[in-house]
Symmetry: C2
C-alpha cells in the first residue's frame, strides 16, 4: 500500500531573484491552496473524541415572562447528557456601555441565557447537551416552557409611541440612545432662506449579515493549561475572551479563544454572542468538550441582525446646486439588547457623525436615536450605517438635481470636497482622497462604453434602462481617538503585531486582527516581506489565538490593514533593525553602513552579504558570539494606534439597470466601481473585497429583508423566505483603482473592507429611479420590491 496522498508543499516556490516590492502586487492568495482543495478547517470541522453537542431551547414568544421552564423530560431523552438553565449556569451578563448620561444612553445588559424575561423569538433559554446533534435536537422538543405573554414591540414607530409596552421594564422607555449633535448656529435660517429644500425619508430593511459559515464553538477545559479553550468563529477573539472570562468569573487568562478558518463574519461575528459563552459554561460544568453549530434558522432569527433604519433628512441648496445645510433625524431599530462592545448606539452614532461624507456641508443638525424592540439584537454589519446614510445623501443630490434641472453628477461635483485635509461641519478631519477624480472616472467609463446612448435608445424601444451613481468615503483605521469620541466605555484602537524570525531565517508575523475572508495571510505577509526585503515564501502570518499576542481588537471597521498592517510593518521594521545590528557587529562596522534586502544584510562598501539565515543562526544557536548589548533571538513586537480622526478611503460606483415590466425585476447590466483605498497592498484582494461588498450591497438594495409580524414572529427562517442573491443576480463588476496614499499608516494603505457594500444601495437605487423617471415614481426605501417596480411601470405604461 502506498500513501494515499501527500501534503502539497506548504510554501510557494521562493522567488529570490525578485526585486520589485510585494506590496502592490496581485500575488496569489496564501489561503487558497488549502481552501480551494478542501483542506480548510472551520469550527464545525473539529471532531474530538467524546465530544458532546449542544443546542438551545429558545423562546417562542417575542415578549413575555417565563412562568415555568421544565427540563426534566429533556434530561430523560436518550443521548441527552445535561441541560442547563440560566439559574443552573449562574453566569454574569454581557454588558456594553457608553460613557453618556442616562438621558442619552440606557444600558441593557444581555444575559447569557434568558431568565424570567424573554424579549425576542429565538432568545436562548437553556442549553441542552447530548451525545450527538440529533439527540440534542430531540432534547429541545422535550423542553416544557410556559410564558405569560406580553404585547411585543415590533416596529420603531410602535416603540416610540406614547404608552408603548416596554422592552426593558427598567429602562423607562424604549429609546436607548437619543443624541442631538452639530446644531450649526443659524441652521434654521439657512433652511428658511434657501432657494431649494429637498427631503428624503427612507426606511431600510432589516438584514442578516449572512456569513456562509454560521456561528459555532467547540469548548473544552484544558487541564494542562488551566484554560477554557473556545475554538470558535469570531472576528474578535480577544474581546470574546474578555467577556467570556467576566461572565464565567474566571481570570481572563483562564479563557483561550482560538479561531479556525472562518467563512465570513461581516460584523455579525465582531460582537460577543451568548451561545458561545453558554456552551463554554456547559463544557466547564461537565468537564467535557462540547460543540455547538448554529443552524441556518437560528442564524437568521436569533443571531444578530442589522440595518433597520429610518431617516428623515432635509437638505438646503442654493440656485447653483450647492448644498447649504443638512437637517437629519435618524432612528435605528436595534432589537432587544445592546451588543458588546458597541452598544445599541453603534448605528445611530455612526450615521450622525459621518453623514456629510464626501460633501462640503456648511451647516448640519442631526438627532440620532436607537430604539429597542422585541426582535433579535443587532450588530454592526459591513458598513454599519454607511450604506443607508450614503443612500440618503445620494438621493438628496439626485432629488436636488431634478428640482434644479441639473445633471446629478454635476451637482455632486459642485459639492465634493476637493481640498485636503478638510475639517467638516461634523468636526471630522478628512485626509486626502480622490472624491472628484473617482466620480469623473466612473462617469467617463460608463459614457465611453456607450451606456448613456444605449439608455436613451432603449427608451425609444419602450425599455427601461437607468444609470445611477454613488460617491462616498469610508472612515477606516478607527483608532482609539475615534472610538473614544463615541464615548465607548471599552475603547478599541491599537493593535499589536509580533515579527519573529526562526533559525532558518523564515518569518512568522502574528497579528491581533482576525481575517475571516480578507486574505490577511497574504497581505500582512506582503507588508512584512517588503519591510525586511524577504521573499514572500519565507513569511507566514499567524492570527486568531488569544494566547499569541497580548491583545488584539480583531477585524472590523476596515481596520485590519490600516492598523494591524501598520503594526506588522513596525514590528518587521524593528526586527530589521536587529538584523542590521547583528550583521554590523559581525562585520565590526556601524549599523548605518549596512542595509536590508533580498534575504540578507548587505555591507554597502563592498556588497558583502550575511543572509538572514546566517544571522538567525548567530542570534539563536551561537548567541555567545553576539555583543553583550544585543539580546539573543530575533523577535520584535510593535503597537500601532490611530490617534487622529482616521483615514478615509473613497469610491464612486456607477450602475446601469434595466427594469422589466410584469415581473418588476431589476436587472443590473453594468457595474463599475472606481475605488481608492490608498496603496492597494494586493489589488486582486482589493477587487475581491469590492466585488463581495457590492454583492452584499445589491442584496440590501434589491433582495434581503427580515420582517416581523405583529406577534414578533420573524418572517424568515431559511433561504426559502430570505431571498439571497446568487451569481445569477450579481453582475460582472469592473473595479478601477485610484491611489491616494495615507500619510500615517506606514504602508500608505487605508483599508477597504466595507466600501463595496456602502456604495451599492445608493447607486442601484439611483439607477432604478433613473429608469423610472418617465413614470414619475421615485423610490427611496430598500429593498426595492419587484411588485413596487412592476406597479410603477404598469401605471406609467
Amino acid at each position: 500500500m502506498t500513501p494515499s496522498h501527500s501534503i502539497p508543499a506548504p510554501d510557494p516556490a521562493p522567488d529570490a531573484a525578485r526585486t520589485e516590492p510585494w506590496v502592490g502586487a496581485s500575488v496569489g492568495r496564501r489561503e487558497d491552496p488549502r481552501l480551494l482543495t478542501g483542506r480548510g478547517r472551520f469550527t464545525d470541522d473539529i471532531q474530538l473524541p467524546g465530544m458532546l453537542h449542544a443546542q438551545f431551547v429558545r423562546s417562542t414568544v417575542a415578549s413575555g415572562t417565563v412562568t415555568a421552564l421544565d427540563l426534566s423530560a429533556v434530561r430523560e431523552v436518550p443521548g441527552v447528557v445535561a441541560a442547563f438553565t440560566a439559574a443552573g449556569l449562574a453566569l454574569g451578563d454581557i454588558t456594553a456601555r457608553l460613557g453618556r448620561p442616562l438621558s442619552e444612553f440606557v444600558p441593557t445588559d444581555m444575559p447569557v441565557l434568558a431568565g424570567d424575561r424573554v424579549r425576542y423569538v429565538g432568545e436562548p433559554l437553556a442549553v441542552v447537551v447530548a451525545r450527538d446533534p440529533y439527540a440534542a435536537e430531540d432534547g429541545l422538543e422535550a423542553a416544557r416552557v410556559t410564558y405569560e405573554t406580553r404585547t411585543p414591540v415590533t416596529s420603531e414607530a410602535q416603540a416610540l409611541a406614547p404608552g408603548a409596552p416596554l422592552v426593558h421594564d427598567g429602562a423607562g422607555a424604549n429609546t436607548l440612545l437619543d443624541v442631538s449633535m452639530f446644531a450649526t448656529e443659524g441652521i434654521d435660517e439657512i433652511f428658511a432662506g434657501a432657494e431649494h429644500v429637498v427631503r428624503v425619508e427612507t426606511r431600510t430593511g432589516r438584514q442578516n449579515a449572512l456569513p456562509l459559515e454560521t456561528r459555532g464553538v467547540v469548548a473544552g477545559w484544558d487541564d494542562r493549561e488551566e484554560q477554557l479553550l473556545l475554538r470558535m468563529s469570531s472576528q474578535v477573539p480577544h474581546q470574546v475572551r474578555t467577556v467570556a472570562a467576566r461572565c464565567l468569573g474566571l481570570d481572563e487568562r483562564a479563557v483561550r479563544v482560538v479561531v479556525p478558518d472562518m467563512g465570513g463574519g461581516f460584523g455579525l461575528k465582531c460582537v460577543v454572542g451568548r451561545e458561545e459563552i453558554a456552551v463554554g459554561a456547559a463544557a466547564l460544568r461537565l468537564g467535557r468538550t462540547v460543540k455547538w453549530t448554529e443552524d441556518r434558522k437560528d442564524a437568521l432569527t436569533a443571531s444578530f441582525l442589522a440595518r433597520e433604519q429610518h431617516y428623515d433628512v432635509r437638505a438646503a441648496f442654493d440656485g447653483d446646486g450647492r448644498v447649504l445645510g443638512l437637517d437629519a433625524a435618524v432612528v435605528c431599530d436595534m432589537g432587544a439588547y445592546s451588543c458588546y462592545p458597541f452598544t445599541a448606539g453603534i448605528e445611530p452614532l455612526m450615521a450622525s457623525a459621518e453623514m456629510p461624507g464626501v460633501y462640503k456641508v456648511p451647516a448640519y443638525r442631526v438627532r440620532a436615536r436607537a430604539v429597542t424592540t422585541n426582535k433579535a439584537p443587532t450588530a454592526p454589519y459591513r458598513g454599519v450605517s454607511r450604506p443607508q446614510y450614503v443612500m440618503v445623501m445620494e438621493r438628496l443630490f439626485e432629488r436636488a438635481a431634478r428640482e434644479l434641472g441639473m445633471d446629478a453628477v454635476e451637482v455632486r461635483r459642485r459639492n465634493l470636497i476637493t481640498e485636503f485635509p478638510y475639517t467638516g461641519v461634523n468636526n471630522i478631519t478628512y485626509d486626502p482622497g480622490s472624491y472628484r477624480e473617482s466620480l469623473d472616472l466612473c462617469e467617463r467609463v460608463l459614457r465611453d462604453e456607450g451606456w448613456y446612448a444605449r439608455r436613451d435608445a432603449a427608451a425609444d424601444e419602450g425599455r427601461h434602462l437607468g444609470i445611477g451613481y454613488s460617491c462616498f468615503n469610508e472612515r477606516t483605521g478607527y483608532g482609539s481617538a475615534a472610538f473614544a469620541q463615541r464615548k465607548m466605555e471599552v475603547v478599541p484602537g491599537f493593535d499589536i503585531a509580533e515579527a519573529r524570525m526562526d533559525t532558518s531565517g523564515a518569518l512568522t508575523v502574528t497579528t491581533g486582527t482576525m481575517s475571516h475572508g480578507q486574505s490577511h495571510e497574504t497581505t500582512m505577509a506582503q507588508i512584512a516581506a517588503d519591510a525586511l526585503g524577504l521573499d514572500l515564501a519565507k513569511v507566514r502570518v499567524h492570527q486568531g489565538d488569544t494566547d499569541r499576542v497580548a491583545y488584539g481588537w480583531g477585524t472590523f471597521a476596515s481596520r485590519s490593514i490600516a492598523i494591524g498592517g501598520s503594526a506588522v510593518r513596525l514590528a518587521a521594521g524593528k526586527l530589521g533593525e536587529k538584523l542590521r545590528l547583528i550583521a554590523a557587529a559581525h562585520w565590526d562596522t556601524a549599523p548605518e553602513k549596512v542595509e536590508l534586502g533580498r534575504g540578507a544584510v548587505r555591507r554597502r562598501e563592498d556588497g558583502a552579504t550575511l543572509s538572514y539565515e546566517e544571522i538567525a543562526d548567530l542570534a539563536y544557536l551561537r548567541a555567545h558570539l553576539l555583543p553583550p548589548a544585543i539580546e539573543p533571538g530575533l523577535s520584535a513586537t510593535a503597537t500601532f494606534d490611530v490617534l487622529n480622526d482616521g483615514t478615509f478611503s473613497n469610491a464612486a460606483h456607477g450602475v446601469v439597470v434595466e427594469l422589466h415590466e410584469g415581473t418588476g425585476q431589476v436587472e443590473i447590466l453594468r457595474y463599475v466601481c472606481v475605488e481608492d483605498c490608498g496603496v492597494a497592498i494586493n489589488p486582486q484582494v482589493v477587487e475581491g473585497q469590492c466585488r463581495g461588498g457590492i454583492a452584499q450591497g445589491i442584496a440590501g438594495a434589491l433582495f434581503e429583508r427580515i420582517t416581523y409580524d405583529e406577534q414578533g414572529e420573524p418572517s424568515a427562517t431559511g433561504f426559502m423566505d430570505y431571498k439571497v442573491p446568487t451569481a445569477h443576480e450579481i453582475p460582472d463588476i469592473t473595479v478601477h483603482h485610484l491611489e491616494t496614499p495615507c500619510a500615517f499608516t506606514g504602508t500608505g494603505a487605508k483599508g477597504t473592507g466595507e466600501g463595496g457594500t456602502i456604495g451599492a444601495p445608493a447607486a442601484v437605487l439611483n439607477a432604478v429611479n433613473d429608469a423610472l423617471r418617465p413614470t414619475g415614481v421615485e423610490l427611496d426605501d430598500t429593498p426595492i420590491r419587484p411588485e413596487t417596480v412592476a406597479s410603477a411601470l404598469e401605471h406609467a405604461s
Copy 2:
C-alpha cells in the same frame, strides 16, 4: 440527569493578606491537583479521530550491512496503512558537531532511519503505520530484513584494540573524541616526589535514565498553520524543532513542537531522537495524524543509554593528607552515534573539565576519550559524568585516608575549597558555596544520631554496618560561555521568558524551559509573584510550545531555575516597571514615587493604590487614556544568559548501610543529604529533587545495568532483566538545607536538578567499603553486585 462531575476550581484560593515572599515558601505544587486526580495529559493520552499508529522495524543485529529490506508483506497486513524505509522518507541526518579538529573529534551523523548500515540492535530501519497499534506490531513481524553481519564492537576495550572492527567505516577508528587537557607543568615531578600516590580504577554500568513515561509523539500536519505539529515528550522542544525542520527540509517555523505533561526525562529526552522525526515525516507523507508510543523494550534497548565509563585516576598526597595532583584517564563508551546537540563528547568532556570538583587540586592532567561501540547511542543522564567522577574522587580520598591512617572526613576537610571565588587548576571559577559546612553538618547529624556507635556495636555482633560520605558540587546555570568552552557548534545558553498580564490583572509567564517533573509551574510562578507583588493564585506558567517563545533551550543541566528563572524574574520586573509607569501617569506623579506590591501600585505619599486589574483595564480597554509614550498592553520579554563559568550548588551525602551475609544485599539504613542550592525557591520541591535524584543514584550504585553479549545483544529488554529499585529499596531520606545565594541569578537560586544523583553512588560505595573494611576487600565498580558483596563477606568470615 445531572453533570457527572465538575472541573475543580483551577486556581488556588487567593491569599491577598499574605505579606511574606513566595520565594522560599514550600507552597503546594501547582501541578498536583491535575496530576494527582488523574487529569494529567501525557503524550500517549492524546486521542484524535482517524489517528494512525506507528511502530518501527528495528535491526536485530548489532553490526551489519542490510542486504535486503522488503516491506511488501508488511503492507499487506490488515490494518497497515503504509511502511517507509529511509529511502522512502529521504530525510536529512541528525548531525551533532564540535568545533574541534578531526584529531580531537570525529562526527558521526545519525540517520533518522538506518539505510544500508546498522550499528546496534534496535536501530530503526523502517516505520510501519497502521490503523491501530496491534496492526502496527503485526506489520513489524511481516518485515523481511536480511543482513550481512559484521563483528560487533561491544566494549570500550574492544573498541580501542588495534585492528578492531570499525563502527563507522569512515571514521578511521572507534575513538570519536580524544582530548588531553590541563597538563600542569611539573605534574610528573609532583607525582614522583609525593609521599603517597593512590589510584582508583573504576568501571560504571551502562544505564537507562528510565523515565516512567517512555518517549512518544503524535504528529500531524496542520493545514491552517502550515505546520507539522509534533506533540511529544521532550525536554527540549525548540531543539527538536530545529533538528526536525532540518531533517525534513522545512523552514523551522513549519514545525511546531508542543509538549504535554511529561513523566520524566532525566536527560534521555534532552537530545533529539530519531523516531519522533520519522513519525513526523510519515505523518507528512500520509497527510494523517500518526502516534508512536515507545514500548519498554525499545525504551531500554533502543532509546538513549548512559554512564558506561572507565576511569583510571591517580592522586598524589602529602603526608598531611593534602592532595598534590590528579592524573586521570577517562574513556566513555558512547554507543553508536553522537547525540544532538551534545555529541559523543558530552561525558568525557564534562568529566575532564570538572573532575577536581570541591577540592583544591594544585596540579591536574587528564586524557578523556569517547569511543563508539555497537550499542544504543547515549545521552546525558542526570548528572552526566558527575556521579562517576565524584565517585572516583571520593574513593581516592577514602583510599588516601586509609593509607594515611586518617579519618576520611578529615582528609576531605583539609582539601575542600573554603575561600571563594576560587579558580581551579581546571580554569573554572567557583562561586561561593558551603562545601565545608555541608560536610560538617552531614557528619554531625550521623554522629548525633548515634550511627557511629551503632556501627561499632553492630560489628561486635558480627553485623556489617558501614558509614560513607560524599561531597561534591554541581555546576548549574550553564550559560553560553560554558558551552562555548566545550566548543559545541550549537551553543545552548540563554533563555527567554515573557510575562504578560491580562485585563483581569492575572499573569501568564511563558518560559523556554520545559518542566518534566521539576515543578516549574509552581516555582517559576513563585519567582514572578514576588517580582510583581502578586498573589500566587494570579500567576500561571506556560511552557512547552515552540510557538510561544522565540527560542528556549529547554530543561537540562539543572539550568531551568538558574537561567530560565532569572529570565522570568527579569521579564516580570520589566512588566512591573510598566505597571509603575502607568500608575504614575494616572496620578500625574513620578514613577519613583510609586511602588509595587500586593496586587497594586501604591503611591508612597498617601498610600493610595491602583490595582493591577485597574491598570490592566487602562492598558488594554482604555488605552487612549495612556500617555503617548506608553504603549498599550502589559507584556514584557526578557533574556538571561550566564556569561561566566556558571554557579555551583553543593552538597554532602552521608549514608549508613548494612551488608547482609548470604544474600549480599546492601541495605541502606540511613540517608542524610545536606544540600546548598543557594536560595531554595520552594524547599519542598528541592527536597523532592534530592530524594528522586538520590533514588536514581542508589539505582546506579546498587542495581541498574544493561550489558551486551559478544553479539551485541542487550541483556535487558524489560523490568525482569533490568533491576530498578522500588520504594522497598529506597530508604527515607532526610534533607537539610544550607543556603549560599548565587550573586547573579537574580533570585539567588543556583539549581538543583541533578545533585541527588551525583552524590549517591559515591556515598553508598564508600559506606559499603566501610562495612567491608574488616574483609580487606575494596569495591570500586558500580553497580555493586550482591554476589560480590556476599563473596567478600564469605571469605572474610
